[in-house]
Amino acid sequence: MRYLVYAVAGFRRYATYRQATLAAVFTNCVFGFLRSALLLAVAGASAGAVAGYDEQQLATFVWVGQGLIGVVSLWSPPELADRIRSGDVVADLLRPIDLVWQLLAMDLGRATFALMTRLVGPIVVGALAFDLFAPRRFSTYPLFACSLLLATVICFGCRYLVNAAAYWLLDARGPQIAWTLCNGVLGGLYFPLWFLPSGAALLIVVATPFPSIIQLPLDILVERGSPEQQVVLLSVQAVWAIVMLAVCREVQRRGERRLVLQGG
């Protein structure tokens, strides 16, 4: 399995950045304290529950959310865009392997390492400082595991598309800024989307891929709603994962033609 080799390579590459991982977990934890204090204050002012979350669920939403940032790699630097601009991407394309699948395999390897470090770190700190919510239904655990995988794939797809814009624009800074804005506000990182009017929240969840990266995995984990609703959320993620990968393949196909025209 050559893709497995790439996944292992992705894992080992990030496993060497130990100090940077530690620094990132520290930063995630500081933001965990900030955001949980804020959301718990909001819940405290409305009799302990807000938008379908109680205090334990909100604290869990925040701390696991901080861990998720690392797992899906929300803010990774635009490596591929830089390689496209410099022309180095030609070396990648010469290999007899599809670039999208190769990058996805490496990203899943990276995510596996992040799962053991970036996700566990904030959860441990959060559990020490706050009352966190442990899922009551057994089915939630496998659902959350699937949801994590789908979230990683969707986030990979978004990042890939932002980077691939460099095939046409050369400077992918605009899409990069738009992506950072969207994943924060529409992803549920700043506040749970259900704080918005329910119609608007529903529209964002269905019509954009961003909530599928942070908001939906967390909703599944804290069991907001019935088991059926958890499955519906997971289905939304599955559809977005398929759509994103299909778009990635098509964009890569056209991008390669474009790159040839440009002369590398």
Partner: protein
């Protein structure tokens, strides 16, 4: 500016040496017009976002730790304004770890100019001006919205507080960037206190847990960026029991924090050994 006195003598040399550097930066960025416009729009949107977050939180909650929307909006606006100014002035020093690793800092050190000032102007992001303009506008709206009983003293405080807050944030930018002199792989560590500090100061201090609050609000002086000035402006008592009018002490706190950051920076520059790359 924070710790400016440590690193640059402000005399006519300033304009002749740094002026062209800044002008060249602005000109080069304006060459890529589309990117420049996108950068400006992006920075403006990020600034507006903080206000949107306050609106959303108050959609589901009437008060926050006993403070109304108008109160919190004023705190957020003050914090936002202070941060935007600091980001414009010295935000670029957060790239210090990149410069240390790549060896670019060696080139900076051999020039007969202040190290910190050079780093600050090396990427004067003209885009960041947009955020300052928006932040000032938002602050005016927030002040009007809060219906402040403006005395002369409060009017002065309304202008001094964002400036003092900007000094505190600048000091935090410089202080956290200095870490890279000792620990090159510190990664995003500084973000916890710079961007985290921005988020921390935007809300009333009573919402935070005791230890966390003591560390950041008093240990680093973050309570004096927006919280205490806002209390003084609103003529409100501190639920935490601090004396009234403590907000007027912001410039003093800012001076202390800036001095501490200046010391860190100086020790860091002396400690610096090139990575040899």
């Amino acid at each position: 500016m924070a710790s400016g006195g440590w690193c640059s003598r402000v005399d006519s040399r300033w304009l002749t040496a740094y002026g062209p550097l800044v002008r060249a930066q602005v000109r080069s960025q304006a060459q890529y017009r589309a990117s420049f416009v996108i950068d400006v729009a992006g920075s403006v949107l990020f600034g507006v976002l903080d206000v949107v977050a306050v609106f959303v939180l108050f959609r589901v909650s009437k008060t926050l730790a006993g403070f109304t929307f108008a109160d919190v909006f004023l705190m957020t606006a003050l914090a936002n304004c202070a941060f935007a100014i600091a980001d414009l002035l010295v935000g670029n020093v957060e790239r210090l770890r990149v410069y240390v690793r790549s060896g670019l800092l060696d080139a900076v050190l051999v020039r007969p100019l202040g190290v910190l000032t050079q780093l600050a102007v090396m990427d004067v992001a003209a885009r960041r001006v947009g955020r300052v303009v928006v932040a000032v506008g938002v602050l005016i709206v927030a002040a009007v919205n809060a219906g402040l009983a403006l005395t002369a003293a409060r009017l002065v405080l309304l202008v001094v507080a964002p400036a003092a807050g900007a000094v505190i944030f600048s000091a935090v930018f410089v202080g956290t960037a200095s870490v890279a002199f000792w620990w090159i792989e510190s990664g995003e560590l500084g973000n916890a206190l710079t961007y985290g500090g921005h988020d921390f100061t935007a809300y009333p201090m009573p919402i935070y847990g005791t230890v966390f609050r003591r560390l950041l609000a008093y240990g680093l002086g973050f309570a004096f960026v927006a919280y205490y000035p806002a209390l003084a402006l609103l003529d409100r008592r501190d639920p935490l029991g601090a004396p009234a009018g403590l907000g007027y002490a912001s410039p003093l706190v800012a001076a202390l924090v800036a001095a501490a950051a200046g010391l860190c920076w100086r020790r860091g520059v002396r400690h610096y050994r090139s990575t040899g790359s």
